[in-house]
């Protein structure tokens, strides 16, 4: 058993910290998220230059061949910086599918992903599906080797910036069957793809995406037709592991900021941090954070385990992170008093990002049930 980071991993962390220090102070971030574009292409290029877009890919595919611990480090630091660029969406999620795709698909798509030329988004959610990844109405019909895609996906995170989408669609079976789900690579510029882009409460962007008779050929199918649900679960768990890391990054900043604020803000003749009730609240925030770090390490170290064990790890971690995100976010605002309510301070922005992480890929209730069923 070992919970220490290698020198190489520490170096990686330092690299990202410098990147954020240079490019991501609060004002620069505000400029970025208030811009028309909503993200910084320039930052994205820098991430590519630093090699970060290649973290999980094999050297053969042009990547750094790193594991989940390295992805965890990247996500945690991005969480501290509240980075909006779609790293998890592109590299962890879509990258998770692509690095398990066929040789030819990898050769076709990974270079432009790793170079930063193309951004990817995963279109999985549907209005009726809530957090059930198998509840899919978007359908694909097949004629010869060609497919036709129809239906609507909602709240596709990062889609406004993406050139490519990976879409989960039903090739057979009933609406919630795990069997009959396939994954397709879709060029966003294809005929029949239309999007309604919007900003999200956490400073990112997403889209409602409609597919109307979108034509796809056989090369767009990832894996076996109708047999992709297990892969979706795997990549979703990897994404959850990264989201947990992002969350603990955000929590650590919120906790530090809150403690600092309570040391300086005075009321009734003393720093409010001298009030025992506030002290204990901050202690509980700290403990929630420590428990979240523990679960984040745990899930990232268990991503290679077999399905049930991995799925339990991911659901357990997500439950802890959801609860901690809510408690820490709400408490940080409360302890900052009126100031915590203002858009001007970073507190609210971390709170909002954490609130969205709660929902992404399933909230605490969803994962409690999943955990229990896996037990």
């Amino acid at each position: 058993m070992d919970f220490s980071f290698s020198e190489e991993q520490t170096l990686l962390r330092n690299t990202i910290q410098s990147f954020i220090q240079d490019n991501y102070d609060f004002d620069k971030r505000r400029e970025i998220i208030q811009s028309e574009e909503g993200m910084s292409k320039d930052n994205w290029s820098q991430l590519a230059e630093l090699g970060l877009l290649g973290v999980p890919f094999s050297e053969n595919d042009g990547g750094l061949n790193f594991g989940s611990v390295e992805t965890m480090i990247v996500a945690e630091e991005f969480g501290k910086g509240l980075v909006v660029e779609p790293y998890i969406q592109t590299v962890v999620t879509c990258g998770g599918f692509l690095r398990r795709a066929s040789e030819s698909q990898r050769q076709e798509h990974l270079p432009s992903l790793i170079s930063g030329d193309e951004i990817w988004a995963f279109a999985y959610a549907e209005p009726q599906g809530r957090f059930n990844l198998a509840d899919i109405k978007v359908s694909v019909s097949k004629k010869g080797d060609d497919y036709t895609l129809n239906g609507d996906k909602c709240v596709v995170s990062g889609a406004p910036w993406a050139q490519k989408l990976i879409v989960s669609a039903r090739t057979s079976g009933d609406q919630s069957d795990k069997k009959g789900i396939s994954l397709f690579i879709v060029d966003k510029a294809s005929d029949g793809v239309s999007t309604r882009d919007y900003k999200t409460v956490d400073g990112s962007m997403a889209s409602e995406v409609s597919f109307e008779n979108v034509k796809l050929d056989g090369s767009s199918l990832i894996g076996e037709e109708g047999d992709s649900y297990a892969l979706i679960e795997l990549v979703a768990d990897e994404t959850i592991a990264a989201l947990c890391a992002e969350a603990i990054g955000a929590m650590s900043v919120l906790n530090e900021t809150t403690v600092e604020y309570c040391k300086t803000r005075k009321q009734f003749g003393q720093p409010i941090g001298k009030f025992q009730v506030l002290q204990h609240r901050m202690v509980d925030m700290f403990m929630q954070y420590e428990q979240s770090v523990s679960m984040t390490y745990m899930v990232n170290l268990k991503l290679e385990e077999e399905d049930v064990e991995r799925s339990k790890a991911a659901s357990g971690a997500k439950v802890q992170i959801c609860n901690a995100a809510k408690f820490i976010g709400q408490s940080a605002v409360q302890l900052h008093g009126g100031m915590g309510m203002t858009d001007e301070l970073n507190v609210g922005h971390y709170f909002k990002r954490l609130s969205m992480i709660e929902t992404q890929l399933g909230n605490a209730d969803h994962h409690l049930k999943k955990y229990s069923l896996a037990s």
Partner: protein, 406 residues
Amino acid sequence: MDLNFTKADQEFRDEVREFIAENFSSENNAGQNIEKYHEVTSDQMKEGILSWHKTLYKKGWIAPHWPVEYGGVDWSITQRYIWDQECANAGTTPLIPFGLTMLGPVIIAFGNDHQKDWVLKGILSGDDWWCQGYSEPGAGSDLASLRTKAERNGDHYIVNGHKIWTTLAQYADWMFCLVRTSNEGKPQEGISFLLIDMNTPGIEVKPIITIDGGHEVNEVFLEDVKVPVENLVGEENMGWTIAKFLLGNERTGIAGVARSKKAIDKLKDIANSELNNGEPLMKDSSFNKKITELEVDLTALEYTELRTLAKESQGQGPGVESSILKIKGTEIQQKISELTLEAIGNYASPYITPLSVRNFGSNYLEVGPEHTQGVAQNYFGMRKTSIYGGSNEIQRNIIAKMVLGL
């Protein structure tokens, strides 16, 4: 002991219900309709807020908690409770409390005849929009440490200072304001209560955008603002007494029971239409349980409020009960907003910019089902309820001291 309304009370309820049905429609109050508020201009918003006020003014029902001689209505506590209930059930536009609930009773208790005349008239008619100049950057919960200074200069005070969290000051014609007129004695002893015309030179109102993206609160900067001496309420340096009187008066409807009931009904509607594994989310036992717990908690609060009202109607002042109502009331409101956010699942995410700050964002059009609109903003915005108006920590301190004697 008896839970029933008298026949007279029942008749009153019917009358009220009928009046509201005939005179209120949400259409002309769009400013308060959160699903639509991004389609409304700022002027329309102010007009919308005042529309219901002016209807009630015409009817003579605008200030039921004031003495009749000053324009109030001769309603019993039960009738006032019924009125609040019915307004909440119909979802009427909440009245702006700064004049009606806060300043009015202060003027009635402490104002001179001239003030009683012009101030109360303007409040009742809605022609004067008041805001509250209490908090300062260095004095949030700890009002005694406020520093905004009023120096006597002939017939005027010259006011310099900086107020913050001033709710809806962007619409205000007047501000009632705590200022420091003396540095002698205990900090609370040198405070006075001034009425300030917001159009006086030297006043600048700067918006504070909150985490829900809304513009409700402001900073107010006062630089050499000339305030006529006759705008002093009560004696110089008796502001602390007035401030305490005012806080004790803020109780009516503070628990927000009836509005929370409506909000739970709406939450249930949402949970019945949102699907979870092919079934209405309302059928999910875990989510259902959370709503049920909330309903039970709200029922308990409802009866706690009724017990408080009953006491009050027997002449026993409400006292610290209002702290319980504030704490539980806001906790429940926050929890409802939290569960509503949870209910809408992935549609928590889209951000619709409120009109008042359109320049800060870019989504004007709705995304997702109508019931998801503004839900996330509301969740974030509701965090303020446990902070403003005496944080819930302060309320607990008050109970510890005043009730438990600790």
